[in-house]
């Protein structure tokens, strides 16, 4: 309860009280500069993290979207089976579109391996149906069961073999990005805390004088908390802006490097930056409050 009162007392502006804490000098700028440097780092951690998660999204999208059904059947049965499989697919949840490949398309697929002259039309080769999945994907196991019951010549290949390592790689990238941001955010909080405490230690005389002339603890704590929290906020705003400007001026993604997105923030990502200054100000607020109360505890 008392802490809450101190909190609100801390946010009420008071001209005289604000002047009690020095507004210039080196120890005064320590909190600002630290919050600035840390906000700058956090911007990069965010940028890295978003880039990693975009990259992994793209990989997942690119791979997860497709599957293939291969139908082997005697020549006269072939078209019936293809029809039947397409019918099954049209009622399968998670299948966005299904399309039987034409002979020319199948030939194009094989070209890298056999050149353009392979006489496919004369061969009893299987037909391929390409499936585009919806975002949720379909139940491969269920589909396999239905296919084996209704179209025994059809084999589903959901490309799992190719997909798995890349999806794992993408997940790990996202995870690394998140780890980086957690570690940088935690270190930043520690640094801002450290700076606030150091600035407070350098202002021990102000606290002593105030206590001696009869200021109560809430007044003293509030004077420092307001100043330091606002300094951390201002510093963090400067740091975020500087970081954002640098990120903006980084080489943009080149057109053909589409598989890896650039480091720039995109769309709503920018909003995350707005959280950084209040967060660092809160850290400074709490750190100053604790440190001031500790210094005061030593004064009778």
């Amino acid at each position: 309860m008392k802490a809450v009162l101190v909190f609100f007392e801390g946010l009420r502006a008071d001209g005289h009280r604000d002047r009690v804490v020095p507004s210039t000098g080196f120890t005064a700028t320590l909190t600002t500069l630290t919050a600035g440097a840390m906000a700058f780092l956090i911007v990069f951690a965010l940028a890295l993290s978003f880039a990693a998660s975009r990259l992994s999204d793209r990989w997942a999208d690119a791979l997860q979207g497709t599957a293939t059904i291969r139908i082997s059947a005697p020549a006269d049965q072939m078209n019936i089976q293809v029809e039947r499989v397409l019918a099954i697919l049209s009622t399968t949840q998670g299948v966005d579109a299904a399309k039987a490949l034409t002979v020319e398309e199948q030939q194009a697929l094989l070209e890298p391996w056999f050149g353009p002259d392979i006489p496919l039309s004369n061969l009893p080769i299987p037909r391929l149906i390409e499936i585009t999945q919806t975002d949720d994907g379909f139940d491969a196991q269920g589909l396999r069961l239905r296919l084996s019951a209704e179209a025994p010549g059809a084999v589903l290949d959901d490309h799992m073999r190719w997909r798995k390592p890349l999806v794992q790689a993408a997940q790990r990238l996202t995870w690394l990005g998140a780890l980086a941001i957690v570690i940088i955010a935690m270190t930043s909080a520690a640094m801002v805390m450290l700076a606030a405490r150091a600035a407070l230690a350098a202002n021990a005389q102000v606290i002593t004088v105030l206590r001696l002339i009869g200021a109560n603890d809430a007044y003293i704590v509030a004077a420092f908390v307001r100043r330091f929290a606002s300094r951390a906020f201002i510093g963090a705003v400067i740091g975020v802006v500087a970081g954002a400007v640098v990120v903006l001026f980084l080489p943009a993604e080149t057109a053909n490097a589409s598989i890896l997105t650039g480091l720039r923030f995109q769309g709503a990502d920018w909003l995350w930056l707005a959280i950084v200054p209040p967060a660092l100000a809160c850290v400074a607020f709490v750190a100053t409050q604790l440190a001031a109360q500790r210094v005061l505890g030593d004064l009778s």
Partner: protein, 225 residues
Amino acid sequence: MIELENVAYSYGGGELLSDMSLSISSGAFYFLTGPSGAGKTTFLKLCYGALVPTVGQIRIFGNDVRSMSRDDVAVMRRRIGVVHQDCQFIDHMSVQDNIALPLAVSGNKTLAEDANIKELLAWVGLTKRAKAFPPELSGGERQRAALARAIIMSPDVILADEPTGNVDWEMSERLLQLLLELNRMGKTVLIASHDLSLIRSAKSQVQARVLRISNRRLQLAGANL
């Protein structure tokens, strides 16, 4: 106002002050003397609650210092004006703001007191230096500023630790007049000083009692000054 009962104090080694009993009554004028290192500053610190006695009881305005909360101590200090031996200020605020600080801190900022500050500055001879910063003051000017800060709240008790250690004879006479004036208005005054001529001068104008710390004890010095 301030009562000591069998008080002793030690900084950790042997006892510095032992077995002191005293009742400082309202409106009295005291001097405190004793050799350097005898414990005068320590005694004053006990009187304004900056130190808690190791033995015995101290009551300030009727409250036992041991039972006071931190905020009680803060409020109590607004009723006791203290001139510290090593006067400390807030170095980035002007002398005038420093002197007015107790008003701001206790929330009693009114125009009447604004006029009061001007008068006070004139009395301690700091009108010209009002806008200066504390590190730019001379030794005597600091002491005078500290005295002004101690009495701006018009406290019930004034404790002054060597308030004239760095000022010339004329100025210390002038400061004594200020303190005598306040005493006449009913304030209790206790001055720690080794300036015998100041004590003599005061004794000729007011019924001042002289306390002496010797052999770790508080003694009332008689007319033997």
